[in-house]
């Protein structure tokens, strides 16, 4: 979609989309930005309500906790103060304004608690000081503002920084700044800039809504290397020194870096599997090795079937996948059969591949945890587990064979980032799909909530912290606000062993009853039977939109000896 399409869509919003509330706080005329951002939310199937700070009044409204900005309950806030070095303004006049505004932002973040994304100001790389622009006091002022914001974001947990200079690097200052607009209307930026900025902000929205993509499914011939391996042979494909081989090699390097930070890679190729495996083994120029791929499918099946098959095997949704293929026919077919898969235009020139992939802006996360960095390795371990599954007869035997151990934590102080991330990313095995920021989790702990999480491992490797229960105490009742589990450990009965342990803990703490609910979403079908299977009783007269359950703790524990699960628990 382009600028015009976004503003038109904002004027004609689609009905029936989930609501999404945004606060927009800037120091310029920001109605155009509002329209672009609103159109982008609609393109992500969210219905935006955008509350803007009135023009030039941010110093007042940020200090006024009764202002509508504070009462609008934003899902996310975007703050962007532009320091235009060519125009007189409060930020260039005195450093006092910087201090005051930093303090206002801190106050705002602490009160608002949900994610606040502050955008750094574009810096001037042209000044009366010529090449010595860093000596220019106005440059120094703008730089100081940006540096102080970065420092503030390290102290305030719900403050996240986006640097608009990344857009300036890409487009150039003349395509970013609109001086006539700045002087005449106080709109200091071009429409192109607003679109680019909107895309970056949208990446943050996707991340907090659990809509970032998790997996890249790749074609091989003329995508991961040049030429057709079936014809050119393992050493005849273009990969390695010289053009175009080096372009393919560097594309692989970028994919490897995505893998290292937790993006899953898979292959869907129309080829003979033996040819593909031979290429990986014999060609010395591969940056990516077979072990980096969670699934390798080389066959002659329809790729829309192949991708669904890979999604099933990895326990992820096809809507969390990106499909990269140089063939326009394959792309068209995938878009038609699986519209939820993201299929970017891709092809002709291999030197453009990296730019195409990274400019999608769909792999963002608000934090990177240890689990993310190990994820690629975990999926490789998963392929070994699948081999065990094929040799064992029953699920019970399979679980026993894996040798699962579970280490349970209470409190979560050590791993707030991971606890928050689990609530933001888990869609399938999630009873209530409630999203919590790190600041939210801290608040829940302060309010006396009980937070249990567990690290799971087996003989093939560690899964990290993959299961979580957030419990609100209500006298002797324990309300299970959130219960979720990463799809990586689904089908191993880990959730039952974990819940049993939590129930014992609650019993020891004097709780008599547990209540829980299941809120159906299009994605959480895998967890719909968890509560009844675990012994909870459904309350009569429940609504379709939410099912209520309860469990009497003493009688649950007195009940018939539960089938012993072959899962070792460490505390």
């Amino acid at each position: 979609m382009d600028f015009l399409a976004y503003i038109q869509s904002y004027a004609n919003p689609t009905k029936g989309l989930p609501p999404f509330s945004i606060n927009l706080i800037t120091n310029f005329t920001d109605e155009v930005l509002e329209k672009v951002l609103g159109g982008m939310c609609l393109s992500e199937h969210l219905h935006p309500t955008i509350t803007r700070a009135p023009y030039k009044q941010y110093p007042l409204v940020l200090k006024d906790t009764s202002d509508v900005l504070y009462t609008s309950k934003p899902d996310i806030s975007f703050i962007f103060f532009d320091i235009n070095p060519y125009q007189h303004g409060e930020f260039t006049d005195s450093s006092k304004h910087i201090e005051e505004t930093l303090s206002d932002i801190r106050t705002y973040c602490e009160a608002i608690k949900t994610l606040v994304v502050v955008s750094l100001s574009p810096l001037p790389y042209n000044s009366p000081y010529g090449h010595f622009f860093s000596d220019d006091p106005l440059f120094a002022r703008a730089k100081e503002w940006n540096d102080r914001l970065v420092a503030l974001s390290k102290e305030v947990s719900n403050l996240y920084v986006f640097d608009t200079n990344t857009i300036v690097y890409r487009l150039g200052e003349e395509r970013v700044r609109d001086m006539r607009g700045s002087y005449a209307f106080d709109i200091p930026f071009t429409n192109d800039f607003f679109v680019a900025l909107g895309h970056e902000w949208l990446a943050c929205i996707r991340a907090i809504r659990g809509r970032s993509r998790k997996c890249i499914v790749l074609d091989l011939d003329n995508t991961l290397w040049g030429g057709v391996v079936g014809e050119a042979g393992p050493l005849g494909i273009a990969l390695g020194p010289g053009y175009p081989g080096v372009a393919f090699q560097n594309f692989q390097r970028t994919l490897l870096r995505l893998w290292e930070r937790g993006i899953i890679l898979a292959i869907a190729s129309k080829n003979n599997l033996a040819d593909v495996q031979e290429a990986f083994k014999k060609n010395p120029h591969f940056v990516l090795k077979e072990e980096h791929f969670a699934a390798i499918r080389a066959n002659w099946d329809d790729k829309s079937d192949t991708i669904a098959d890979i999604a099933r095997e990895l326990n992820i949704g096809t809507d969390s996948m990106v499909f990269i293929d140089d063939s326009p026919l394959e792309r068209e077919r995938m878009r038609k059969e699986r519209p939820e898969v993201l299929v970017p235009e891709f092809g002709a020139a291999p030197e453009d591949s990296i730019g195409t992939l990274l400019s999608l802006k769909v792999f963002h996360q608000m934090s990177l945890t240890e689990e993310d960095k190990k994820k690629g390795k975990m999926y490789a371990e998963e392929r070994q587990r699948t081999a065990v599954l094929k040799t064992t007869k029953s699920k019970k035997e399979y679980i026993a064979e894996l040798g699962i151990t579970m280490q349970i934590f209470e409190g979560a102080e050590n791993d707030i980032a991971r606890v928050s991330q689990l609530t933001q990313k888990t869609n399938q095995y999630n009873l209530t799909t409630r999203r919590y920021s790190e600041a939210d989790i801290r608040r829940l702990l302060k309010d006396g909530w009980r937070i249990y999480s567990a690290k799971v491992a087996d003989r093939f490797g560690e899964y990290g912290i993959v299961i979580l229960a957030l419990i609100a105490p209500e006298e002797t009742e324990a309300m299970l606000d959130t219960f979720l589990m990463s799809c990586r450990v689904m089908g191993r009965d880990v959730e039952f062993a974990f819940l049993e342990h939590v129930i014992r803990k609650l019993h020891a703490a004097g709780f008599k009853k547990m209540t829980a609910s299941f809120i159906p979403t299009p994605k959480n079908v895998p967890s719909k039977d968890f509560l009844p299977d675990a012994g909870f009783v459904e309350k009569k007269g429940g609504k379709k939109s939410v099912k209520e359950y309860a469990l009497d703790i003493p009688s649950h524990l007195k009940g018939k000896a539960k089938k012993k699960l072959p899962i070792a628990i460490v505390e």
Partner: protein, 76 residues
């Protein structure tokens, strides 16, 4: 002409078929000062031309916008 009509249609949220030379702020409800700015910047971008501020502010209807774009040597 299609490009110009598409810009007016998208910004003012009116069907392309309803765009005549007489289309003006009095007829199109959405033609306010902000959308006038958006029309200006999008026309300049689409045709790679630059108007002076006075030229742009003088536009009173679609017909005058067409004439202004043509005056920059653009075939519509």
């Amino acid at each position: 002409m299609d490009t110009l009509k598409k810009i007016f249609s998208s910004v003012l949220n009116v069907p392309v078929s309803s765009i005549t030379d007489a289309l003006s702020p009095e007829i199109a409800e959405a033609w306010d000062s902000l959308n006038a700015i958006i029309l200006l910047t999008e026309i300049e971008k689409a045709f790679k031309v630059k108007f002076t501020f006075d030229e742009a502010m003088a536009i009173r209807n679609f017909g005058e916008a067409v004439a202004l774009v043509r005056s920059k040597g653009i075939q519509l």
